[in-house]
Every structure is written in structure tokens, then in C-alpha cells.
């Protein structure tokens, strides 16, 4: 295995672990707030779950990016590609957007979801508006995921 390949795998690793770490924190923040609401009124657990699950998507995005990189490197189902250092750095750079934006947007989204729990507690009929607000944060995670994926998929070779 060449140094380039190792660098590319590093990229896949940080895409997965940073984005997943962000999601873990985001979901954690939302769940803490959600449990307080559910403790008051257990019948709201369904809607609370929706808000709690939202910051989880960045983890999926990180996972998807890492998976695509590993696929292309042949780590999954194939022979491992021997990359030059430049090629390895290309993959590494490709992984950065979703790794970093995924991390921060998941936490930001977690906070929005936590305040969304207030809507759920006080005006349950309007709780969808909390979801809407949280989905706006998601936009940036999706953009960065797309940049990462476009870079990975269009690897010039």
C-alpha cells in the first residue's frame, strides 16, 4: 500500500468520524431537551423522536462519503489502488467539506432541535415548524456532502 493510499484512507476516516461525532453531539443535545418534554407528556415521544433524529443525518453523510472513497480505492470489494501522494491528497481534500461542515452543522442543528422541543412542549400543533427550522441547517450539510461526493466521483485518475 502506498503513502498516497494511506492518505486517502485518512480522508475517509475523518469524513466518517468527524461527521459522526457531530451527529452524536447533536442528537445528544436534542435528546436531552426531548426527554424533558417526554417526561411531562409521554404521548409526545413520537414527535420528539423526529426532532431528535434530525441531527443524525450528518453522520449518514459522513458515512456515505467514506464509503464512496473506500469503494473507489478498492478497499471494499476489489484490489486496493496504489495512489501517488498527490492522488491521496486529492481524496483527503475531497473528504474535508463533509467532515468539517458535517461536524459543526450537526451540533448547530442539535441546538435548533432542542429549542424546537419548546415549540413541541408549548404548542404541539406547530411542532412541524421546529422541524422546518432544523431542516434549514441541514441545507449546508447537504451542500458540503455534494461537494465531497462530486470530488470523489469525478476523480481525474
Amino acid at each position: 500500500m502506498t503513502t498516497g493510499t494511506i492518505i486517502a484512507i485518512f480522508g475517509a476516516a475523518i469524513a466518517a468520524f468527524l461527521a459522526c461525532m457531530g451527529s452524536a453531539r447533536g442528537v445528544g443535545i436534542a435528546c436531552e431537551a426531548g426527554n424533558a418534554v417526554v417526561a411531562e407528556d409521554p404521548s409526545k415521544s413520537g414527535k420528539a423522536l423526529l426532532l431528535e433524529a434530525l441531527p443524525g443525518s450528518q453522520g449518514i453523510y459522513g458515512f456515505v462519503t467514506a464509503f464512496m472513497v473506500l469503494m473507489q480505492l478498492g478497499v471494499i470489494g476489489g484490489t486496493i489502488a496504489q495512489l501517488t501522494i498527490e492522488q491521496g491528497l486529492y481524496y483527503f481534500a475531497a473528504c474535508l467539506p463533509i467532515a468539517i461542515v458535517g461536524y459543526y452543522s450537526a451540533i448547530a442543528q442539535g441546538k435548533v432541535c432542542a429549542t424546537g422541543m419548546n415549540i413541541l412542549a408549548k404548542k404541539p400543533d406547530d411542532s412541524i415548524k421546529g422541524v422546518t427550522a432544523a431542516a434549514l441547517v441541514e441545507t449546508y450539510a447537504i451542500f458540503s456532502l455534494l461537494v465531497s461526493l462530486l470530488l470523489v466521483l469525478n476523480f481525474p485518475g
Binding site: 471494499i76 431542516a135 455534494l146
Partner: protein, 655 residues
Amino acid sequence: MISKMKKLMLVAARGDIDSITNDLLWMSAVEIRPAETEAEEGLAVCDTSSEIAEYERRAAVLSEAVDTLAVYGSKKNKKGGAPAFAFAFTRESFEELRVRTDEALEKAEKVRMIARENAAYRSEINRCDTEILNLRPWLKLDIPLSLESTASTDIIKGSLPYDADLPGISIELSDECEGAIVGEVSRDRAYIYIYAVFLSGDREKLTACLSRHGFSKMSFGQYNGTCAEEIKRLKEEKLQLEAKIDENLSKIKEYASDRRFIESVYDYIGSVLEKLKMKNQFICTENTFILNGWIPAEAVKRLKDKLSSYECYYELSDPEEGEEVPVMLSNTKFASPFESIIAMYSYPKYGTFDPTFIMGIFYAVIFGLIMQDVGYGLLLAVGCPLLIKLMRPKESTKKMLKAFTLCGISTIICGVLFGGYFSDFPHQIAVNFFGASTDTLSDMALLFNPIENNMGFLILTLAVGVVHMVTGMLIKAYMLIKEGDVFSAVFDVGSWLVLFAGIGCMAVFPPIGKWIAVIGALMLVFTQGRDSKSIIGKFFKGLYSLYNIINYLSDLLSYSRIFALGLSGAIIGQVMNILGTLAGRNVVGFIVLIIIFVFGHVLNLALSIISSFVHTARLQYIEFFGKFYIDGGRPFKPASVNTKFSEIKEEAKQS
């Protein structure tokens, strides 16, 4: 379309007040306006607040009974029970519930009493539990708990902190008080439970000594037996209470078959309340009453038919300038579900433009472009009507689900165009299970595959954006022309369109396009500053208006979210498909495939639904509505029979 509203003023005989109110309620087409009480002699609001309070009390009793029955009454008693109470009502059968109100209230009251009795029993059980918990440490003590002294000795009981040095304390005690004995009964994490026996005269010395070590005394004056006996007694008491609760529960179950009946009467009481609240806004004189309200123009004929059987006088007039008129949207069957999307934002102001139909088309198309998957579309198009059937959701949710059904159909169409069948599921199966080569496999997309042709898809989404925004601007022009302001329509909207057309033309045929764009820009520079007073102000303000091109550009780029969401959804689906087929073509591989397929696509579908819904709505609210929409309309809320549990047959509501 925004329905035309008429102001209704009706004067009728006091004797007809009940039947007219009732008729208006069932018509579901009149919104009562609060009376503007005039300070004239003999005019006063018909005060029904005491009746309202009484009926609200009744409604509360019924709803408490319904809640209890919902929890404890078994849902159906199939054998031998009374036939299930009607679910759907006509006007006649609903109003017949009036004579059975007392019966329902009586039953509800009984259910409520039983439920309250049970609540009391439950708190008794809790008390027993706490007592047992408190007594448990003393189980080994085989003298009566209340025994505190014998002929010449005293006994005290209590607890020491868990880390107290009992042998040490014991020695200390025997030094200070002769013959005193300390014994441990039991210990737990926090305390050591002890007793001390000592000569009656030593009490003070002893307690002082024990207190130094953190002793706290416990007394059991109310227990006459030994601890074991007392716990046994409490447990028996608990059993008796539980038996009583069970007995009561079976009594409640007897009422289970009445649940539908009580629910219906609750709904009926709700309609009575609605009528009382209507009346509360009427003005009454000795022999007449006056009613003010709003009615949509299309319902006027029905109103006239209704009122022809009464001796009354009424006036219908157009709303005055500046009056806050409630807004009712009336749309075709296709468009009306999308009113729910409008309602989430804000209704249009009365007299402006209702974009529901046009927005509905764009909503469905953009939603479809984001999801672009035959499989997901089918799930939506089949799932949403199914939910409506099974869940009987309230009207607003129903509309939303209907809108999603239409979006599902659009998703299917886009799926066919862009080749999404649970993302690239057929492709992955063919390649990984049957060894088809990636190259020879014909493309599933009718149009093109967005994953392979990124740029094509991006341009397509931006093109949709252009159409969307231009439509919005044309609506603005239409609104201006309708107001008679043709000048503004031509120069505020038209010049932008000319500019855009020029820019568009430049891409194809630069020499002509350039000049069209210049004409558009000049139109803007010369007209946009017309509000300014000085010539210089006019010029610079006109020039400055060109800066707005930045806003149009950022609006346009905002449509790239369709591209981002659509593509990332497709790729996530693709990853799930690859993961699923990794285990190969065998039994284990097949099981793995099913698990990952279901889990992965449910996850992706959920993510896609949320993002399609939110981002499509955002494109409507900000990029589209921003061009023309005048919000702030108050939704029209006619008085009508609103039921929580029962269904009123549609024809009854209209009659």
C-alpha cells in the same frame, strides 16, 4: 381563487333565534362577527356566558369519561353487547342526540365517579407501599413496634449513618449508661437500623451520646403488632384495594359499549356550545335579534333559500375599503390540497391573488425533482391515501396528505425520467448478482442519469428556477394590470423580463441579445427612480435599481438546492444498494440484502421526505412568493358542526 365575501346583517324575531342559529350552523358558510354594541337604548349583546359555562362543564364530564373508557374500556365487546353506536350522522340523527344527553351525562358521571374512586384507591396503595418500604428494615425485630418501655427499661429505635462505628458506640454507651444494650437490626446503603435498651432513668444521657454519632429516632406509634405482622397486614390491605380496583375496572368495562355513544353526545354538546358562542355575539332587543357576519358570495343563494321560511330582514353588502375581510380560498380538486402549504405560510390578503393552483404545480414538480424515484414515489402515492383511510386525520392533515399523494405521482414521473428505481437498485442487482457488465447495461433513465450527468441536472434545476421566478413576476404584472397600473406592470416587471430575455439571448445569439439586454437596463434606469423628486435623484435611484440583479441571481442560485438534494438522495440510495449486494448471491446474501434494503431505503426515504417538503416549501415562500405575494389574510372560519369523534355526512353539512 379568493372567494368574494359579503357582509351579512340580519334582523329576525327573537322567537326564531334558536332555529335560525341552528340553520346557519349547519350551513357552515357564515362567520359571525362580534356585535358592535351601540350605546342605544334597549340594545344589548345576547349574553349566553352562563349557559356556555354550564355546557362546558358537561363537555368536561363527558370528555373525562371518554378518556377513562379509552384507557380501560376494552375496545369492542363482540359478544352480546349492544350494536356499535353509529359513527356517521345525518343532521337529523345528530340532533336526536339531544334527548339522550341526560342519559349520556348520567353514564359519564358514573364512569367518572368510578375512575375517581380508583384514583383514590391507587393513592392508598401508594401509601401502603411507602409504609412497607419504611418498615422493611425492621423485619427482624420481633417485638411490637409501638413498644417503647417495659416496667423498668426503655427501648428506642432509630438509624445511624452507614459508616457509624457500631462496636465503638456500644462500648461508649456501656461506659456512660450501665446496662444499656445497642443492637443492629439491619443495614442498607445509607443507614444502620438499631435499637437500644436501657434503664428508664438514663434516657437523656443515652440520647445525647447517640446523637453525637448522628442518630435519628424513629417512632412507630401507629403500629401495634410486630413488624412482620404489620407488613402482612399492609399487604393484605393492598390486596383488598387492588381487588376493589379490579372490581371497578370491570364495572367500567360494562360501559365500554357506551363509549361511542358518549363520544357522540360529546360532539353534540360541542355543537350546542358553538351555537351558544354564536348567540353570544348577537344583539338582542325585546322582540328581535340582530346578527352580523361574513358569507362567501357563492353561498348567498343557499342562505336566501334557508331564510325564506322565516320572517326576517337581511342586508348583504360588499366589504368597505380597509376592512379586514376573512379569506376563503376555493380551488379545484387538484389544487385545493396545496392550500395547506399556503396556510403554513399565511393566507393572501383579501382581494389579492390566490396562487394555489400555480404554486401547486410547481410544488409537485420541484418535489418530484428532489425525490426522483419511482419506488419512493409509489410509496408516497399509495401510502398517503392509505393513511387518510386508516387514520381519519383532521381536515388540515388530510389536505397535506393529499398534497403529498400528488407529489408522489410527480416523483414517479421524475423517477422514470431520471432512472431512479430505489436509486439504482435494478442496476446493482444486475451487476453484482448476475455479473452484467457496467458498460453494456442500458441506462434506465429516459432523459439522463443525474449521477452521470451532473451538469445537465444542474442546468435543468436552474431552468426550473427561471420558469418559477418568471411566473412569479408575471403574476405580479397581472396583479398590477388588474389594479389598473399598466405603467408599473410594464416598467417594474416588464423591463426586468426584457433584461433577462436579453441575457438569455446573449448565450445563443450575442449581437442581438446584447442590445435587448441594454434596452431592458435602460428601461430600468429611466423608470425605477420615478419616485424621487430631483432629476439627479431619479437618475441615481434608477441606476441603483440595476443592483437588484444580484438579488435575482442569488434567488436563481437558490434553486441549486434541488440539484444538491436530488443528487445526494440518489447517491445515498446507491450506497445502500451497494452495501446490500456486498454479501453476494446466496441465501445469506439475500437475507442481508433484504435487511439493508429495507433499513437503508426507509432511512433515505425519511430524510428525502423531510428535505423535499421543507426545501420545496422554502422555494415557494421566499423565491416565488417574494415576487408578488401579499400575505396577512385571516382565514375564513364559518360556524359549523365540528366533531372530534364522529363524522357528519358531507351532504348534511351543506344542507
